[in-house]
Amino acid sequence: MVTTRTHISLAGIPLDNPVIPASGTFGFGAEMAQVYDLDILGSISIKGTTRHPRYGNPLPRIAEGPGGVLNSVGLQNPGVEKVISEELPRLRRLFHKPIIANISGFSVDDYAWACERMDGEEQVGIIEVNVSCPNVHDGGMAFGTQPESAAAVTRAVKAVTTKPVFVKLSPNVTDIVSIALACQEAGADGLTLVNTLLGMRIDLQRRQPVLANKVGGYSGPAIFPIALRMVWQVAQACSLPIMGCGGVATAEDVIEMMMAGATAVQVGAENLRNPLACKQIIEDLPQAMDRLRIDRLADIIGAVR
């Protein structure tokens, strides 16, 4: 349901509502377009795209925890050229609003390369830079775990695009605010908070990790309070718009994320267990707003200080 009550503006881009499927939990939209009309969504963050095609990690890549899913997919994607030549044209016919191009890399160069290619795509409204990947030139530490490397990636992508750049931060850090501030200083136009939390499960019979990769990223309702806390902490310290992400499953969760400081909200794992999740959230929003006496969603952004 599109009503002006749910309109928000994200880094200058008007969205009908703040609900956006999170990268990696919606593919490139084609499968989901068979389930519902994608145009009800605020935007779509496409599967993390890298410079070169990637198969990702060996199977099994999925495990489960209470209230969440553990994944070690490892950024499987066809590579930026094929995404541009095949996936984006297909998505353009299914979704008629600006999309969010989520890009990943294993060196600063990789990020800049993928970003520069996406910059040429009219359909791309926002570039979302996933800095949770390991830096192969620096001992495999994730870019997003240190303010300097997160800032280096931000500067490199900002230099090659005029589109708004949202840096998507990893929650696997002791001080998310310092990293957020480093990205802000490096020129980021916004932040997505958060990616998955590093986790693990063991198969008791086999006495082996369930995931072939041993560890993976945990997400789903179990991480909602952690993601919310990080959104709130960063919103207190930074002036950048935030896309809140982590465990969002209901219209109330969307409102809670926005009160904590999010301008828009991404829904990830919930799409996996309930393919209608985003549709239901969008349909439920007006009633949830009525119950909470919220006139316009834009009014509650960062209401909690």
């Binding site: 989901m32 890549r61 999925i62």
Partner: protein, 250 residues
């Protein structure tokens, strides 16, 4: 095979043990459960974040039959559901078996609970006038189920047990070679080691139904993506779970 996922509430009409830890559940619901044999449903269960994928054992447009083995929390929960209880299913998932294959004599090979999707397949093949041989492998005689159910829809049913307490002693491949079955095409479902052995032992073309731990079951998470012989990868939940022998990287 183009199939569109649907989400429906199905009601349990029957749920009974067939063998130790193996159950047959029948359900009815308002929508289509599957279009072709070999497809699966993905079942939401209380308190479990991920759905549980279970093959369609039989579907006649009204009654959906599932066979499942209790191996953990989710399947244990299923075993406790009596008639009248409801389950939320994603239906019509996966590609299913292709019935449009060359040859007259079809061999269906099942290992343990992997027997499930072969039942509807046998029915459909028999209805199309094919000769159908079924070979089922179990650990021991006490664990055997569904051999009688297959009889009306097949020309012969052979059994292999690991301990020799029924049928041929050993693997399904031992039963096939011992009986000197000559067939044109095979279909197999069962544990991965069995599928590997079957696809290596049989020179005929065939299709194999695989398993993978699934995040979504409908193609959006890439959690089940399997490397293929040609260097590409395919999703077990979407392009699979049924693959042609030559597609597989083993």
């Amino acid at each position: 095979m183009v199939a569109t996922m649907e989400k429906h509430i199905f009601t349990v009409t029957k749920n009974a043990a067939l063998a130790p830890n193996v159950y047959e559940m029948q359900l009815e619901g308002p929508g289509c459960a599957a279009r072709v044999p070999g497809q699966f449903v993905n079942i939401a269960l209380d308190g479990l974040y991920l759905r549980r994928p279970i093959s369609v054992c039989n579907y006649d447009g009204r009654t959906l039959t599932l066979l499942y083995k209790v191996v953990g929390q989710g399947t244990r929960q299923m075993a406790a559901l009596g008639p009248g209880r409801t389950l939320e299913l994603l239906t019509q998932l996966g590609n299913g078996f292709s019935l449009d294959v060359p040859g007259r004599h079809m061999l269906l090979v099942g290992g343990g609970i992997g027997t499930a999707p072969l039942y509807w397949l046998a029915r459909e093949l028999k209805a199309r006038g094919r000769e159908v041989s079924v070979v089922l492998g179990f650990n021991t005689a006490a664990e055997i189920f569904y051999t009688e159910a297959f009889r009306p829809h097949s020309d012969r049913v052979l059994v292999a047990t690991m301990d020799g307490t029924a049928g041929t002693r050993g693997f399904v491949t031992d039963a096939i070679s011992r009986q000197g079955l000559s067939f044109d095409y095979f279909y197999a479902c069962g544990p991965t080691p069995m599928l590997r052995a079957v696809s290596q032992a049989l020179s005929q073309p065939g299709q194999l139904s695989l398993e993978a731990r699934m995040g979504c079951g409908f193609g959006i998470c890439m959690g089940c993506s399997l490397p293929m012989a040609d260097g590409t990868s395919k999703r077990v939940c979407k392009e699979g779970p049924v693959f042609r022998k030559e597609e597989l990287a083993w």
